[in-house]
Amino acid sequence: MSVNKESFLPEPNFLTSPKGLKSWLLTLDHKRIGLMYLFAIMFFFMIGGIFAVLIRLELLQIGETIMSADTYNRMFTLHGAIMIFLFIIPAIPAAMGNIMLPIMLGAKDVAFPRLNLASWYIYIGGSLFAIYSMAHGAVDTGWTFYTPYSTSTNGAVISMTLGVFIIGFSSILTGLNFIVTIHKLRLPGMTWFKMPLFIWGLYATAIIQVLATPVLAITLILLILERTLGIGIFDPAMGGDPVLFQHFFWFYSHPAVYIMILPGMGIISEMVAVFSHKRIFGYKAIAFSSLGIAFLSFLVWGHHMFTSGQSEYAAMIFSFLTFMVGIPSGIKTFNWLATLFRGSITFEAPMLYVFAFLFLFTIGGLTGIFLGALPVDIHLHDTYFVVAHFHYVMMGGTVMAFLGGIHYWWPKIWGRMYSEAWARVAWVLIFVGFNMTFFTQFLLGTKGMPRRYFDYLPQFEGMHGFSSVGSLVLGAGFIVMAFYLIHAIFKGRLAGDNPWGALTLEWQTSSPPPPENFLKDPVFTHGPYDYDTVDVQRTV
């Protein structure tokens, strides 16, 4: 046998011990559960992405291109529902958070490992309802399920909403688990302000998950009761109020925006410090701004309803609070910039995604100012401007942070490196394709192109066509990424414990980590960003 011993992963590691399918399906190891989440959400990300490309192909030209209006309405509904409920909400907390949070705290697992496994099965159970719905006529309500449309339309609305209802519980349980874990299982010596900022992001997120998700559950149950029993709460013919549904829905779904972005901001904070090899600037400002955002996020839901006939007084308050919730995000951005100052910066794939995040999320955040300003929102509401805005925030923000996190922790999870050259190719395709697709939509929306339109007037054809071509470039980037990331799992060169020269605890154990995270108990000797006092080098 002439196999180089160096090409084997360290043993024992959580990927191979114990072995067997049963050991995975019944595992209580947070890393395995997180990885199973990752596979599930990537599957749905792919499905949602395919729907997105089909939507853009339909809009490539004027008139019916590849599908009917009814099919189109189902497509954009499924794209939204899958991307929001099945992908982006669980993406960072349940997948990346599950894998990394206990290791970063120096713990052996989360506080409630069985609950953790249960939350994965609840997620899978809920997603089966969603798949059942897709196979049985699907839904054409838009992911927002507005009444009275959603109570009067045909289609599998009940199974879809039931699916989302069930998935909500997995989100609540994950949040609960994380809160307890962060409070109780930190390594001795790791005080609150010595925690990595990703943990702060997850903590703020968990609070919203636990407090807001039940409201979504109540709302969806009311919708199901309305459809099955006709209880009349949203039915004007029985004295109900359809706009009440919008209030209920956004009371969850606006905070949910921060469930999506806060952990992403946490990942950015980690990566910006590691790849600048520098102490993070304004640690407490970043940590507290996460909590500030979490608190204010509950008080701005009415800005989705400026044209719904709510009182001018309510609109004024919601407008004001909307501007206030923007300030902490701005503070974070300046803190990340200041971290770069006098750093020792390298440009591996995770750092490229930090730059993409700064570029795209800044556009996403600034265009939010337009939508917070009442008279401007009246014009832009429900147009492509809004579509572009939330894609810049959700995809340009959260997904870029998520992709950065994937590239950052991929060597830790699998013990092997991906091809840096191919990572650059994919990054360029994604960055260029994303801007082609969505920047165009700011122009479309400003000119008055309403959203959720199967067809459009001739004056919009050029821009719609350009946006559709952009989506193909974007899609190509993801295909390239899938290839090199999967290739790395099997053929990548060994990463070593600490390929980036980072100081947080997950880099002080082997890659992949052993089942109990650390072979010998870790000791807290330095803070997460002490690059000014601790000399740390890369292990390649």
Binding site: A237, S308, F323, I331, R342, F370, V376, G448, P450
Partner: protein, 317 residues
């Protein structure tokens, strides 16, 4: 009418559009400033502080600067305050219709708009208005939620099945403008297109006179309301000559403020009348017993529209 003639906002064709655009462009330039600040600073730092060689030593440990942090908190806060106050002032103008505005009832349904003019004329999908006169639209829907959107006028308002919403505008120039439904409403959402046809005042009056004659079959709202008043038993308890009966009179009440039995006051408007027809016990005028039955299911929406229009004709404007 070519909305692609400009890069961002389409042509401003209503009196309020210019104000909306001024705020839009203010935010636009401030946002551009911040965007370039962030991206150029990031690029500069990335290049200036890139690592040279493979080894890395200890780096600068400064992690806060109170003055700097105060500045980058306060400046954006001041700017969003300006935007907020500016925005709210314009928004109030957009929401308070001038006195004497022409009132047109707009009804959305799958998948067209219908318009009821003061003289009983009805048009479908095409709203006809005079240039240079304020027009007030009272919106509602027969089925799901729709949204009335004219980009060139910068106006948008949802049409709801259970309550009236209002918007107003004053078109500046004669022409034809696109009208969209902006709230997703199903299969025909993207074909629920209409036009706003703006005529000169004299042409409008000529058109209206003819349109009213043509549509004799369609009963105008005030007339319908009068029929409802006598035919659906309102007259049993409400007079039209100013004397109180079992319930308050209908004469000279619209737009007036009355005291309610719980001591609060309310101005009688479209929504109050509608609520009082459907949920009579909700807000009872002081001095009257809460004895009125609900007319939920007994009156159609158009009949309620009619009652409201009729009560308006009984009041001094």
């Amino acid at each position: 009418m070519d909305s692609t003639a400009t890069l961002w906002m389409p042509p401003a064709q209503s009196t309020i559009a210019g104000e909306v655009d001024a705020l839009f462009y203010f935010i636009f330039y401030v946002a551009m400033g911040f965007f370039f600040l962030v991206v150029l600073a990031a690029l500069y730092f990335l290049i200036r502080y890139r690592r040279k060689g493979n080894e890395v030593g200890l780096t600068d440990g400064h992690d806060h600067n109170f003055k700097l942090e105060l500045i980058w908190t306060i400046i954006p806060t001041i700017l969003v305050f300006i935007v907020f106050i500016w925005g709210f002032r314009t928004y109030l103008k957009m929401n308070v219709a001038p006195k004497g505005a022409i009132e047109i009832k707009v009804t959305g349904q799958k998948w067209f708009w219908s318009f009821d003019y003061p003289n009983g004329a009805v048009t479908l999908s095409e709203l006809v208005v005079p240039a240079g006169r304020p027009v007030k639209l009272l919106l509602s829907s027969r089925d799901v939620i729709h949204s009335f959107y004219v980009p060139d006028f910068r106006i948008k308002m949802d049409a709801l099945p259970n309550r009236y919403t209002m918007l107003w505008f004053e078109a500046k120039n004669v022409g034809t403008y696109n009208l969209y439904c902006a709230e997703y409403c199903g299969t025909g959402h993207s074909t629920m297109l209409g036009k706003v046809k703006v005529l000169s005042v004299s042409d409008y009056e000529k058109w209206l006179a003819n349109a009213g004659a043509e549509k004799d079959a369609e009963v105008p709202l005030p007339e319908l309301g009068k029929k409802v008043y006598t035919g659906k038993a309102c007259m049993t308890c409400h007079t039209i000559d100013g004397t109180p009966s079992v319930g308050p009179t209908f004469k000279n009440v619209f737009g007036h403020t009355v005291e309610l039995s719980d001591g609060t006051t309310i101005t009688i408007d479209e929504n109050y009348i509608r609520e009082s027809v459907l949920k009579p016990q909700a807000k009872v005028v002081k001095g009257f017993a809460p004895v009125m039955p609900t007319f939920q299911g007994l009156l159609s929406n158009r009949e309620i529209d009619g009652i409201i229009a009729y009560i308006k004709t009984l009041s001094e404007q």
